[in-house]
């Protein structure tokens, strides 16, 4: 395999605002791609419209910065028509979940082998500050001066509801955490949703404050790893256990709780019940925000199935050219 550095994937000078979370993410993406080692010319990065959708312009790969909301649909055609390509689809929360919500759920349902990046800053940045489908209820913005009166989508819930098989989360400023999930997404065959918690310094500054700094993450986040106990805290002193239909935070060493009592993460479990509970934690509910690969379950991909079906039918049917196709009809001869 050819060896690449992040420079091989880098192009141009990003135009995002100084301090925008997209800068952090872009750097991590370059590094992840170098570590993955797939050639730039065998990679396509496809985005919609929005601040984050400018990203393909800063990639030395093939790519398209398309139209609002349609990135997942366009990426679908690209991948199905040319399965040899590694396809990354990049959208923001507006592009991916509002105008593009239908394509988001169907790409997950079909399980197209796409790496789907959702840069979630809970705001419309490019149009200068309107609430998005991930903004919390009551959110005050230019288009909601008295607060929104609607509940937000929680991306994991949409992904799981659409029968998604891969969901991971990272904070844009956490380079290693981001690189780890991007590599896992590439490793996973099928639609892989990576939610990136990303700050908009201009219109929604501080939206992910609790986990944006390393110190914050130590306190307020839990890194989930398949096969490892679900522990968190500055000294890993807390853990998660199952209680009734829900999860509960416990302190290890207190009330007789030992590390053996702590729930062990199973990202490969087909049943997504507990994975969903992990993914939904941390909305001011006393639970930490889960980071890392939350769900990673093998399933047949759409593009593989399309190819396999073509091969199967080719083997079964006797016609393989247009001329042979014509002969399958009722033909008569006029002499």
């Amino acid at each position: 395999m050819a060896q690449y550095t992040f420079q091989d994937f880098k192009k141009g000078q990003p135009r995002w605002c100084p301090g925008c979370g997209d800068h952090f993410f872009l750097n991590s993406l370059h590094k992840a791609m170098a570590e993955i080692g797939i050639a730039p010319h065998e990679t396509a990065v496809i985005s919609g419209i929005g601040c984050s959708s400018r990203l393909p312009h800063y990639m030395a790969t093939y790519g398209m910065n398309t139209i609002h909301g349609r990135a997942a649909a366009i990426a679908t055609g690209c991948k199905v028509a040319n399965p040899r390509l590694t396809v990354w689809q990049v959208s923001g929360d507006g592009d991916g979940l509002a105008i593009g919500g239908n394509h988001f759920i169907h790409a997950n349902r079909r399980n197209i082998d796409l790496n789907m990046i959702l840069l979630n800053n809970r705001i419309y940045g490019l149009t200068k500050g309107q609430y998005s489908p991930t903004s919390p209820r009551g959110f005050v913005s230019k288009s909601s001066p008295y607060g929104t009166v609607e509940d937000p989508f929680r991306p994991a819930e949409l992904c799981f509801g659409a029968r998604g098989h891969f969901f991971a989360r990272a904070v844009a400023t956490d380079a290693q955490g981001t690189i780890d999930i991007l590599k896992a997404a590439q490793q996973h065959k099928g639609a892989s949703v990576c939610e990136i918690l990303q700050n908009c310094v201009i219109f929604n500054n501080g939206t992910h404050d609790s986990v944006y700094s390393k110190e914050g993450r130590a306190k307020n986040a839990i890194y989930v790893r398949h096969g490892q106990p679900l522990v968190f805290g500055e000294n890993k002193e807390y853990g998660l256990v199952q209680e009734g239909f829900g999860l509960k935070v416990v302190e290890i060493g207190k009330d007789g709780v030992t590390i053996d009592d702590i729930l062990v993460h199973d990202a490969h479990c087909e049943d997504n019940t507990l994975q969903l509970k992990l993914a939904l934690m941390g909305d001011g509910d006393g639970f930490p925000i889960a980071l890392g690969v939350i769900r990673d379950v093998e399933a047949p991909t759409y593009n593989d199935a399309v190819e396999a079906q073509i091969e199967e039918v080719k083997a079964k049917k006797a016609y393989h050219t247009f001329a042979e196709l014509l002969e399958t009809n009722d033909i008569w001869e006029v002499k």
Partner: protein
């Protein structure tokens, strides 16, 4: 007695099969047209089916028809009015009699004319013939259902299965009426039901019974007919609908170009059969994706095009509204894409199963910004093959989305299709980036004719980013420079204007016509038939029919200005006329417009055109 029966030689004849949508009228019509085509008659067919999946049995809204026009010489349309009407029930007679000539032979199943049937068909008396003013001498009234039941009593079939064979009795009767060789129909059924020989035998038995019934009771019909064959073009033929021919054209073009064929689509009447047809042919490597919506159908095709496929999206009017944005993306990214619009009645959901030409201005103009796009229109069911091939070639060689317009009439109608030989078709050569540009190439570099080069992902050294934002002509980077935008807008327009299309052909009295008839797309057959009819009456008439609408043929203005009177006849309120007036200075045509969802009627066209000549 057969000896006393008059056998009439006819040049052409129109038969209309009608019944409940579940009565199998389409199949009966199909077999009859195949039987006729096999002996060398020319054929044109038109199915006329209701929008409801299955309206209540025997109801007026549930009637489905299938019209077949067969001729000794060439036929151009499925015919205005029929010479023989088969009405399988009272509702069919009630709704379909209007399509019968005054002296037409009517075949009815008396078993479906009971009090309840008459009530469902909204007859007021118990004598439907008298009520509709039909001369009983022209009616072959037979207890069709009873006879089919008797015929299959020992077959072991259940009641439901037996009743499904009624259509074959009608077919047998019509075969007798036109001296058709039933053996051809038998062979057709043996192949169709190869896996169910019992079913084939039952159907064959019923056809024979229908034929024999005609033979034994012919005193009730005034004539039997024969249609001989003239001007045969030797060759091998198949019956093909417009939608199937369109699908075949895409398959042929992809094979010729050496590309994968990708269809992104969403089911919509009357375009869905293209999706059905292409989905069958995986053994040819055809990839079809039934998307979540029309938007994704087109958007995924744009993605497939970027990835290097011959990308197609198929739809009808309401779908075009939704595809407009992704079509526009293909315009600015200069990627090949074929957008098939099988036009139907609009606006909105309109008349889903009926035919119109009302999307022309939409596909020419219905996008934001300056968005030039080639537009073609197929002339007939069989021309759909060449039109799909030509549209694909144009898209691939000029790196542009191309709209191919057909319509419900052309899509569902059928004709005898001479099997094409792919090696006789022109090569398809997309402008792949020449190797010598490695290192200096940028995405908007153009070949001599103004076409952007194509670099397909996977090719090392040509990685690039396209997008919906305006790009710099030289570097391919995002640009809002005013001069650059103006330049790129002009280059995109020039690229389309540079596409060479064949000259407009003038048929008929091209030197001295008093009236030039002008049309486009699917009305070709009717306008041509109207022209021939007028010329046979001694009128000087010519026809110029557009297949290429954008860009227009170079001789368009010359042709349109040559004749003292020009009438633009179209199934909309004057969209082609508006386009031609915009493109040809001082062109002021007469117009004939009809928006009924039904094909033109040749006799109506003739009388309207005559009025124009006499003005």
């Amino acid at each position: 007695m057969a000896e006393t029966l008059e056998i009439k030689e006819l040049d052409q004849v129109v038969v209309r099969f009608s019944g409940d949508s579940g009565d199998g009228m389409q199949l009966a019509g199909n077999i009859f047209s195949t039987v006729s085509a096999t002996v060398g008659n020319s054929i044109s067919t038109f199915p006329d089916y209701p929008a409801d999946i299955r309206a209540p049995q025997g109801s007026l809204t549930g009637v489905s028809g299938f019209q077949v026009h067969i001729g000794a010489g060439q036929v151009f349309t499925p015919g205005d009015l029929c010479d023989v009407l088969v009405a399988m029930n009272a509702a069919a007679l009630k709704t379909q009699y209007r399509y019968a000539k005054p002296n037409a032979t009517i075949i009815i199943d008396t078993d479906s004319f009971g009090p309840k049937d008459l009530e469902k068909a909204a007859f007021k008396t118990d004598d439907p013939l008298k009520e509709m003013g039909i001369d009983p001498d022209r009616v072959i009234a037979c207890p069709l259902t009873t006879m089919v039941k008797d015929c299959l009593a020992d077959s072991g079939m259940d009641q439901k299965g037996i009743l499904k064979c009624r259509n074959m009795f009608a077919l047998g009767l019509v075969c007798w009426l036109f001296s058709r060789d039933t053996e051809i129909a038998f062979n057709f059924l043996r192949e169709k039901f190869a896996k169910k020989p019992g079913l084939a035998d039952a159907n064959i038995k019923v056809i024979q019974a229908g034929y024999d019934y005609g033979h034994n009771t012919h005193s009730s019909a005034a004539n039997v007919y024969r249609i001989e064959t003239k001007n045969k073009v030797p060759g091998r033929y198949m019956d093909i609908t417009g939608n199937k021919a369109t699908a075949y054209g895409f398959i042929a073009a992809a094979e010729k170009a050496g590309l994968k064929l990708y269809l992104g689509s969403y089911p919509i009447t009357p375009a869905t059969d293209v999706l059905h047809e292409l989905s069958k042919h995986k053994s040819l490597g055809v990839t079809t994706v039934q998307c979540e919506d029309e938007i994704a159908g087109c958007a995924s095709a744009v993605g497939a095009s970027f990835a290097g496929a011959l990308a197609v999206t198929s739809t009808s009017g309401p779908g075009i509204c939704l595809k407009s944005e992704a079509m526009n993306l293909a315009v600015i990214m200069e990627l090949p894409l074929v957008v098939l619009d099988v036009q139907r009645g609009g606006p909105a959901t309109g008349l889903p199963t009926k035919s119109e030409q009302t999307d022309l201005l939409q596909v020419l103009f219905g996008r934001n910004g300056e968005s030039p796009m080639p537009v073609m229109a197929a002339l007939s069911p069989t021309d759909c093959f060449d039109a799909a091939y030509d549209a694909s070639k144009m898209a691939l060689e000029h790196m542009t989305p191309v709209v191919l317009l057909t319509d419900a009439f052309v899509a569902n109608g059928s004709g005898a299709f001479k099997l094409p030989k792919l090696d006789e078709y022109p090569a398809i050569e997309p402008p792949y980036v020449p190797e010598e540009l490695r290192g200096t190439w940028t995405p908007y570099m153009r070949a001599e004719n103004g076409t952007r080069y194509w670099a397909v992902p996977g090719r090392e050294g040509f990685a690039h980013i396209l997008g919906g934002l305006e790009k710099d002509d030289k570097t391919g980077a995002i640009s809002t420079n005013p001069e650059n935008h103006d330049l790129m807008t002009r280059k995109r327009a020039q690229k389309i204007a540079n596409i060479e299309v064949p000259d407009l052909e003038v048929l008929g009295d091209r030197d001295d016509a008093e009236l030039l008839i002008v049309g486009f797309g699917g009305t070709y057959g009717h306008l041509r038939a109207a022209m021939e009819e007028m010329r046979s009456q001694g009128k000087k008439v010519a026809l110029a029919h557009f297949r290429y609408i954008n860009p227009l043929p170079k001789n368009t203005a010359e042709v349109l200005k040559k004749y003292p009177r020009v009438v633009v006849a179209e199934q909309n309120m004057g969209q082609l006329a508006a386009w031609l007036r915009m493109k040809v200075d001082g062109f002021v045509p007469y117009q004939y417009n009809e928006v009924k969802g039904q094909p033109f009627v040749v006799s109506t066209l003739v009388s309207n055109f005559e009025q124009i000549i006499n003005k």
